[in-house]
């Protein structure tokens, strides 16, 4: 294929030729091309199909506002749907596919929708897919889903990395056109820390797209020279390929840098994109302006484009959509395109100007006061029909039509903090209002000053004012000479006779749809938008919103500013989810905390599970064990028979010190702590202020003014936060200090009848572990293994004679190995979370399943623990009537009547003989397991008045899983209810 529409000149590098493929066809292009410009050079105008009617479409623009030419870029795992061909930078080997068509772009079966368009008017879905309700899920939704959508996902993991970064500056300049460059020069030379971002890979904005001279040289050359000067300044960071996507609170801007999108594969170690959070003292928005179309009959054929895009393709990319081009304009800028095309040797067949007083030309034909009546060409424009000012139709052959309806300042970022743009009648455009994001000012075409001279001037002056505000002295920039053409425009929005005139080309919204919405009383702009979907496509209405508003104003008989404007929200352009995620996906969404015995446990072949941020051993399979239950049952039995070891480091540990430490704990636990003797541990129940249980744990008193508090693994962070709240906000005068020591101590539970004997082998001489010297709930600081400081607590979660021993974390690995070695003669087993869970259920100890954010001390059978003799967090509100009903839920044990039956956690409890309906609900199962000691499944649960219903046979139902059988209500303490083993 030859590049038959390639022109001379331009800013492409002809020394580098790239081969690329679009659908099944191979083409050639050059470095500096976009996918769209390269396809146009090869004579390809048809690049996509519209969303609803599958109309054939080509590029309408040469930039990021593109509604039509959106493609699937790249293939395989790197496939990216809905990518604008107008911004996709060409590289050698690029692969792109058209989307939303079947079987091919030229013949799309779904274009039948277009013939049925009378049925698919605005609100079609709302009106049609209403009833019967049963049809929604089975019939309507699959139909809509199959027909809708644009590109498809690869459904595979993205192999590339995305990063996040933080930048700080005095001045962020958004946009590198004439205003942005003049501002950057001024601020850069003044010594301010400047960041200049531009979404394009070639900085210069319209200077690269126009033929204007700046300072006696070509505009593009001036831009290149200026960028080189800026890049040489150490205080200026120039960021091409970087789109500022949002203006956030306090001068923070989000920006996406496309580091590798212009490469087939990112360079080694480089991410595909980076999401920058830029904290700026001030920002200057120099985002330029976007040309808007005029709406007329069949204005969507491939080849019908913004006039400014046609000349951008000619001037920068040395290509034209066709050799014969017509122009349709309501302002002088359209004529600019005509003269630029002529200079490039493209035939300008006619300039149709809606204004009766249109400028005349000796170089090209001008129809003053004419409008486009109709266009022809199914897959690409072939002919236009012009309604002449004095009546009659003139047919003109052409392959492209440049349309200029005036320019809209790109005000989007000015609206991200709630500002609304204001209407400027002279420019016939919305310009930024006085309500800007704090710290932002606007310069250049984004404010509605459109000439090159005024853009340079407003950029330079804007920067100077900002620097003065920051106390930095900047000298005035010697402005290079540039054109200063005034704007001459007569508002003209749409050709009224049109039947199918497209306003929003990506979402296929016509002028008729807007009129219909008005007829149906959708008078607010926001309602219009949602009813017709105007402006709701991936281009967010950059080329369509204003025309839509103008048509709505017309049918409502109002002025445009009376109709209002829709809000602009971040992101400015479509942004990949991947860059928001950054490196945070899979296991990297959060930190992974490893217990001190992790390496050792891996060596034992442990299976791990996530517990909060922690990885904890779940069970330790032995050779021959094929099911987790085999390992778990063995660990439970051996621990209860002899001794087992479990890493409990992940439980939260908080060191609390100070003369008021005891008073402080008395405040945060509902039970008393003031009188706990030194050398003793006490179980503590912590309530939220609303009387619901927050957490439980133990507090060990190591000295008069020194406690070690433990929390559950899951709540360690919240409990610490809460304790700091109580300390700083509620008890600011107490002498109490604390710090989290969870990571500082490795802690192991040693449980089972032989636990004392095992421990005696590792403690140093003189440490007396006898029941008399170190009874149940004792604690103390000891030494082990020949002088290593350790903390010993005689506490038990399993219900056995048990200890927890803590050593500085760095000794944790050595300690578990030593303990295992010392325990060999007792056939010690390591046990994991599953066995720990079974043993605590057998013992009736509550954990997160029971402390589930809805339960009180009363529910847990610990109502009497809430001391009324003192003030503690939550004690007052636990007295609320609703929490103290006579039939309140109580913790019970449950045993299936048939020992073969399982008990599903989450099953509900029903009184025998009652109907299974919510009002008869008597409670629910919180924890269930198979008990190898009892030889059947057992469970814990909450049952209304459960403490008085021991012995009752109750119905256990789980309609979701089809379970419905009988269980006996028993004490939650299945094993050793009197606690003799603990005290042995």
């Amino acid at each position: 294929m030859t590049q038959k529409n390639r022109l001379d000149g331009g800013l492409i590098d002809r020394s580098e030729t790239f081969s690329f493929r679009f659908d099944s066809q191979y083409y050639k292009g050059h470095k500096g091309d976009t996918l769209a410009s390269a396809l146009l050079a090869n004579g390809v105008r048809l690049m996509g199909r519209s969303f609803k009617y599958h109309r054939p479409r080509g590029p309408m623009t040469a930039g990021s506002e593109e509604p039509n030419a959106i493609v699937e870029l790249r293939e395989g795992t790197r496939k990216e749907p809905n990518t604008r061909a107008t911004t996709a930078e060409l590289y050698d080997g690029l692969r792109a596919n058209s989307q939303n068509r079947w079987p091919s772009l030229k013949f799309d079966a779904m274009q039948v929708n277009d013939l049925l368009s009378n049925f698919f008017a605005a609100g079609f879905y709302y009106k049609t897919f209403m009833w019967p309700a049963a049809f929604w899920e089975k019939v309507y939704e699959p139909i809509i889903r199959r027909a809708a959508g644009l590109g498809s996902l690869s459904t595979q993991d993205d192999p590339d990395g995305y990063d996040k970064g933080f930048l700080h500056c005095d001045l962020l300049i958004i946009g590198g056109g004439p205003a942005g460059l003049a501002a950057a020069l001024t601020a850069g030379e003044g010594g301010a820390r400047v960041i200049l971002c531009d979404e394009d890979f070639l900085i210069g904005g319209r200077l690269n797209l126009e033929t204007y001279a700046v300072g006696g040289m070509e505009g593009a050359a001036w831009a290149a020279e200026t960028v080189a000067r800026l890049q040489a300044m150490p205080n200026v960071r120039v960021m091409p390929r970087t789109t500022v996507i949002g203006a956030f609170d306090h001068g923070i801007y989000g920006a996406v840098e496309r580091v590798s999108d212009h490469l087939a594969v990112p360079e080694d170690g480089k991410p595909r994109q980076i999401l920058w959070r830029i904290t700026s003292k001030r920002a200057l928005l120099c985002a330029g302006a976007t040309e808007r179309p005029i709406v007329f009959e069949n204005n969507d054929r491939p080849g019908i484009m913004q006039a400014s895009a046609v000349r951008a393709y000619a001037n920068r990319w040395a290509t034209t959509p066709a050799q014969q081009v017509a122009i349709f304009t309501n302002n002088d800028d359209g004529h600019r395109t005509a003269s630029d095309l002529l200079a490039k040797g493209v035939e300008v067949v006619s300039v149709i100007d809606t204004r009766a007083d249109a400028p005349t030309s000796s170089d090209y034909d001008v129809v003053a006061g004419g409008v486009i009546d109709q266009t022809w060409g199914r897959l690409g424009l072939t002919r236009i029909e012009v309604k002449m000012p004095k009546g009659g139709i003139r047919r003109i052959k052409c392959g492209a039509l440049g349309v200029s309806g005036g320019w809209n300042p790109n005000v989007h970022l000015t609206c991200h903090q709630g500002g609304r743009p204001v209407w400027n009648e002279a420019l016939a455009a919305f310009v930024p209002s006085g309500t800007l994001p704090p710290g932002m000012t606007v310069a250049g075409a984004a404010t509605g000053v459109f000439s090159t001279h005024s853009a340079l001037q407003s950029g330079a002056e804007g920067a100077k004012a900002i620097l003065a505000d920051l106390g930095i002295k900047a000298s005035a920039l010697a402005l290079p000479g540039a054109e200063d053409t005034p704007v001459r425009i007569t508002q003209f929005w749409h050709v009224k006779t049109a039947k199918r005139a497209w306003v929003d080309q990506q979402n296929d919204v016509t002028a008729k749809d807007i009129k219909l919405a008005h007829q149906e009383n959708y008078v607010s702009v926001e309602h219009l938008k949602r009813y017709t979907t105007l402006g709701m496509a991936t281009d967010q209405g950059k080329t369509s919103n204003i025309a839509g508003l103008a048509i709505m104003a017309e049918v409502a008989g109002k002025a445009i500013p009376e109709v209002g404007t829709t809000m602009f929200r971040p992101p400015y352009t479509p942004t990949a989810m991947g860059v928001f995620a950054g490196r945070a996906w899979g296991m990297d969404t959060k930190p992974t905390r490893l217990t001190p015995s992790h390496t050792w446990a891996e060596e034992q072949g442990a299976v791990f599970t996530e517990a909060g941020l922690w990885l904890r051993a779940q069970w330790y399979p032995k050779p021959g064990e094929t099911h987790w239950r085999q390992s778990c049952d063995r660990e439970v039995i051996q621990t209860r028979k002899s001794v087992g070891i479990c890493d409990v480091t992940s439980l939260g540990k908080i060191d609390v010190q100070g003369t008021d430490a005891a008073a402080f704990l008395n405040k945060v636990y509902c039970n008393g702590f003031a009188k706990l003797p030194v050398g003793k541990v006490r179980y503590g129940l912590m309530l939220r202020e609303d009387g619901i249980v927050m957490d439980d744990g133990t507090a060990a008193r190591l000295a008069e003014d020194h406690f070690v508090v433990t929390t559950t693994t899951a709540k360690a962070v919240q409990v610490y936060r809460h304790l700091e709240f109580v300390r700083q906000c509620l008890c600011p005068n107490m002498d109490v200090q604390m710090i989290s020591t969870t990571d500082a101590w490795a802690q192991f539970a040693i449980a089972g009848p032989n636990s004392r004997k095992l421990l005696e082998k590792v403690v140093d001489d003189g440490v007396d572990l006898s029941n008399e010297a170190f009874p149940f709930m004792a604690c103390g600081e000891i030494t082990i293994c020949g002088g290593l400081s350790a903390r010993l607590f005689r506490i038990s979660f399993s219900g056995e004679l048990a200890y927890e021993i803590a050593v500085p974390t760095r000794y944790g690995d050595a300690l578990v190995r030593r303990l295992m070695q010392a325990g060999e003669e007792y056939e010690v087993v390591p046990y994991g979370l599953e066995a720990l869970n079974v043993m605590r259920i057998e013992k009736g100890h509550a954990t997160a399943n029971e402390l589930n954010g809805t339960t009180t001390a009363l529910n847990l059978g610990m109502g009497k623990m809430v001391s009324k003799a003192k003030d503690s967090i939550g004690s007052k509100l636990s007295e609320r009537t609703g929490l103290n009903e006579a039939d309140a839920l109580k913790l019970v044990g449950l045993k299936p009547v048939n020992p073969d039956h399982k008990v599903p956690a989450g099953a509900h409890l029903m009184t025998k003989g009652t109907e299974v309906i919510a009002t008869n609900d008597q409670g629910y199962v919180t924890s269930a397991c198979y008990s190898p000691n009892l030889g059947c499944h057992i469970a814990l649960g909450f049952l209304k008045s459960g403490d008085t219903r021991i012995g009752e046979i109750i119905r256990l139902v789980s309609p979701l899983t089809g379970v419905d059988h009988d269980a006996e209500v028993v004490s939650p303490h299945f094993v050793d209810p009197e606690g003799d083993r603990l005290r042995a």
């Binding site: 306090h250 202020e689 700083q728 007052k876």
Partner: protein
């Protein structure tokens, strides 16, 4: 958002955890005759102003200070940042 920490200077809001209305500093006296009513009000009743709002933020990824931040809920402008402990002391917490 940027919170100007009274001890550490300007810090990104992502370092903080938000709790809510600073009226939580005014915990009632548990021995008052109408203590239960007061606690219900303390626990559940909040103003929801469009404008200045005093609220509690916790510098969890920092020095673990609780702060009272005065923020305009409409504009997110922050006009004052104080250590909650200082506020609690000035407002007469006796404990």
């Amino acid at each position: 958002m940027i919170i100007n920490h009274p001890l550490l200077g300007p810090r990104d809001s992502s370092e903080f955890v938000y709790l809510g209305d600073a009226s939580l500093l005014n915990r009632p006296d548990w021995q008052a005759d109408d203590a239960l009513e007061q606690f219900i009000d303390y626990g559940h009743t909040r103003d929801n102003p469009a404008g200045l709002h005093r609220e509690l933020w916790y510098h969890e990824q920092g020095d673990r200070s609780w702060l009272v931040v005065t923020r305009n809920t409409v504009t997110h402008e922050i006009t004052s940042v104080e250590l909650a402990r200082d506020v609690a002391r000035t407002e007469g917490r006796f404990e």
